[in-house]
């Protein structure tokens, strides 16, 4: 690229722009298209909706379903218990009301769901139903393709909203390979970019550094765009640490629930009961047993039958094929060796814990005309697949009722705002040598800082105020260095913007960790200055970027009824 040959500029106009064609994004598009055949819907997706985001490899079950004898209220109480009370009742209830309908819709799209002889779904535990989830994403993408009013823009990385005075009217991005920059004007925008991985040094920091649980390509773009535009965020300090199979970082639920394997330490003692059975409790058990010298920890599979071996091999091929390969390659199947487990690096993911946009009951963010659904949206943990779909549907319905009153933005305003961002892309696309640091060097530095000072794997998820202060100043230093990064091609440009997103999320995350002066979810985070749970923090920690600084504050818990923003 030279000064004489800037990127090609394209301006697009639509009614509803959906950023991120993952689980929630695709389903929001489908819901809106079914109800409003003349609405123009555009999905802007960084990869290809056929295999993008969390569902790319497949999933092993639908983890959120209201099974026979259970109610949405039971689900609410389960989530409240699991998250130690820091949830939004209104959001969890409205999402849970959609679980079964979205599961039935997936089945209509072709998802195979296991049924008993009476034609009823076979359940796994209290909230799960069994499926073949290998092709769940291609099925969703095929359904998107059935509606003529949905246009899909694959391979476009969105980096910024178009905003003015607290109102969003589109977004800006660029081709991940083609030198094209896009300015997209829309009456309503749904953000559905998922959560953020790769903030902390991962379990396998070397060659297999991307062998992580959460998709390494979900880099927190939606959070970062919202933060920079002044949207209110909630519960970033409620990080998610997953308990996973060692090395392959494959989910463990299929083993634990499927063959009833218990968690044991190196001495063979079952420890799970000691720490409680919540998600955080389980994660804490494994971390603490190891920390105190009783590791490694395992899921005790030795002695299962050969049929169980075979089922596990197949089930993992449908969602985490590395684990099946590992069993075969080692020459010992799970019946012959226990499965070693470990905690992952912390992720920010509103589909498992509560981090994300602060939304009203109808999934409106605090920025006008911007809506959020799925892992990017906060306050409603334990969404899983069906919850992300349900939130996509709720957001789509809200948009359909709001959009009549949203006028399109003026073209001159769109162009002026977009151009500012384009100039940044053009500045960064350069053949100049990347010295002395390239984007990978700064990413590694960020992960080291977060690991050591903001409660990563290295410290067994522990931190104190002094360490957080060091983390904060180091992230500030890296933000400055990242501003100067340039790269010779679009692929490097994607990496540069992903790094910028992660640094923004880290900055907010650190501020939230500082603000919650207690330890509520010991499996996810231990504040060593305040190692106990405190009644004073039965509230949300929220934040907002205002006039160049981050304001962090608390809000009282929202219980039932509808919650509306008051500006």
């Amino acid at each position: 690229m030279s000064l004489f040959n800037p990127m090609e500029r394209k301006y697009l106009t639509t009614d509803l722009l959906i950023i991120g064609g993952g689980t929630a994004g695709c389903y929001a598009a489908i819901t809106a298209a079914r109800q409003a055949r003349d609405l123009r819907i555009l999905i802007a997706e960084k990869a290809n909706i056929k295999r993008s985001g969390c569902l790319a490899a497949g999933v092993n079950a639908l983890n959120a379903y209201i099974t026979e004898g259970q109610t949405v209220r039971d689900y609410l109480e389960f989530v409240r218990w699991d998250a130690e009370k820091i949830i939004r009742d209104d959001l969890v209830l409205s999402m849970a009301e959609g679980f079964n309908e979205t599961a039935a819709d997936l089945e209509r799209m072709g998802l195979v769901i296991l049924k008993d002889e009476r034609g009823k779904y076979v359940t796994r535990g209290r909230q799960n139903i069994k499926i073949n989830g290998e092709n769940i994403k291609p099925l969703l993408a095929a359904e998107v393709g059935r509606y003529g009013n949905i246009e899909v823009l694959n391979h476009v990385n969105i980096t910024d909203y178009l905003t003015a005075e607290g109102r969003v009217f589109g977004a800006v991005g660029f081709g991940v390979e083609e030198e094209i920059e896009y300015g997209i004007s829309a009456r309503a925008v749904l953000i559905a970019t998922g959560g953020a991985a790769g903030l902390y040094r991962p379990n396998n920091p070397g060659f297999s550094r991307h062998k992580m649980w959460y998709p390494p390509f979900n880099t927190g773009a939606g959070y970062a765009m919202g933060i920079r535009a002044g949207a209110e965020m909630t519960s970033f300090e409620m990080r998610f640490v997953a308990q996973r199979c060692k090395d392959t970082i494959a989910p463990t639920g299929t083993i634990a629930l499927g063959v009833g394997a218990r968690e044991v330490n190196a001495r063979g003692e079952i420890y799970e009961k000691q720490y409680g059975l919540s998600t955080s409790g389980r994660a804490y058990g494994t971390t603490n047993e190891t920390y105190e010298g009783r590791g490694p920890c395992y899921l005790r599979t030795k002695g299962i039958t050969s049929e169980q071996d075979e089922e596990l091999l197949r089930a993992y091929l449908n969602m985490a094929p590395a684990q099946t390969l590992k069993w075969i390659e080692s020459g010992r199947l799970p019946s012959e060796q226990n499965v070693e487990i470990e905690g992952t690096e912390p992720y920010i993911v509103g589909g498992h814990t509560g981090s994300g946009y602060w939304v009203d009951t109808r999934r409106r963010t605090t920025l006008a005309n911007l809506y959020a659904a799925g892992d990017v949206s906060g306050g409603a943990p334990k969404k899983f697949v069906t919850g992300a779909l349900a939130e996509g549907a709720i957001a789509a319905e809200t948009i359909l009722s709001d959009i009549k009153n949203i006028p399109p933005a003026e073209e001159a305003v769109v162009r002026a705002r977009a151009e500012k961002v384009f100039l940044d892309y053009e500045r960064r696309l350069s053949d100049a040598p990347q010295e002395p640091y390239d984007v990978f060097a700064i990413e590694e530095a960020m992960q080291k800082v977060m690991d050591e000072y903001a409660g990563g794997i290295k410290t067994a998820y522990r931190y104190n105020a002094g360490q957080l202060a060091l983390a904060d100043s180091s992230i500030d230093r890296l933000i400055v260095l990242a501003e100067g990064l340039t790269g010779p091609d679009m692929d490097t440009l994607v990496h540069i913007y992903e790094l910028r997103e992660r640094l923004t999320v880290c900055k907010v995350l650190i501020a939230h960790l500082c603000a919650r002066k207690e330890t509520r979810w010991p499996g996810f985070a231990v504040h060593t200055d305040h190692p106990q749970l405190s009644g004073d923090y039965e509230c949300y920690v929220n934040s907002k970027w205002l006039d160049g600084h981050l304001e962090v504050f608390t809000r009282p818990l929202v219980r039932e009824g509808a919650y509306e923003h008051t500006y």
Partner: protein
């Protein structure tokens, strides 16, 4: 964790490039697919399943216990055959039927 693309088997159809969730697969000047950054592979196996020419194999990095085995897939309608070849052993095949749910 990563994949390897066999230059000689690749027919340059671009299917793997199109669907990699991390946009990790590039194209050499002659159109052959190649993995840009092997360390960035998530190991989702999407490219493997998409390639109908068995040009891609999947392996575990040495840092996560790999022993040099290669995993490939071969599709026949709803059936996916996963073929694992380990040094010094007969290939091992597991067949998964898309129409059948996981039992666990």
């Amino acid at each position: 964790m990563s994949i390897h693309i066999d230059r000689d088997k690749c027919i340059r159809c671009g299917a793997c490039r199109e669907i990699c969730p991390g946009n990790l697969i590039g194209r050499t000047t002659d159109g052959t697919a190649y993995l840009r950054h092997p360390e960035e592979c998530w190991g989702c196996a999407s490219c493997l399943k998409e390639c109908r020419h068995e040009a891609i194999f999947y392996f575990l990095g040495a840092d996560i216990g790999g022993q040099g085995s290669r995993m490939q897939t071969n599709r026949e309608g709803d059936l996916t055959h996963w073929i694992i070849s380990s040094p010094g052993r007969e290939p091992f095949t597991i067949t998964v039927d898309r129409r059948e749910s996981n039992k666990y």
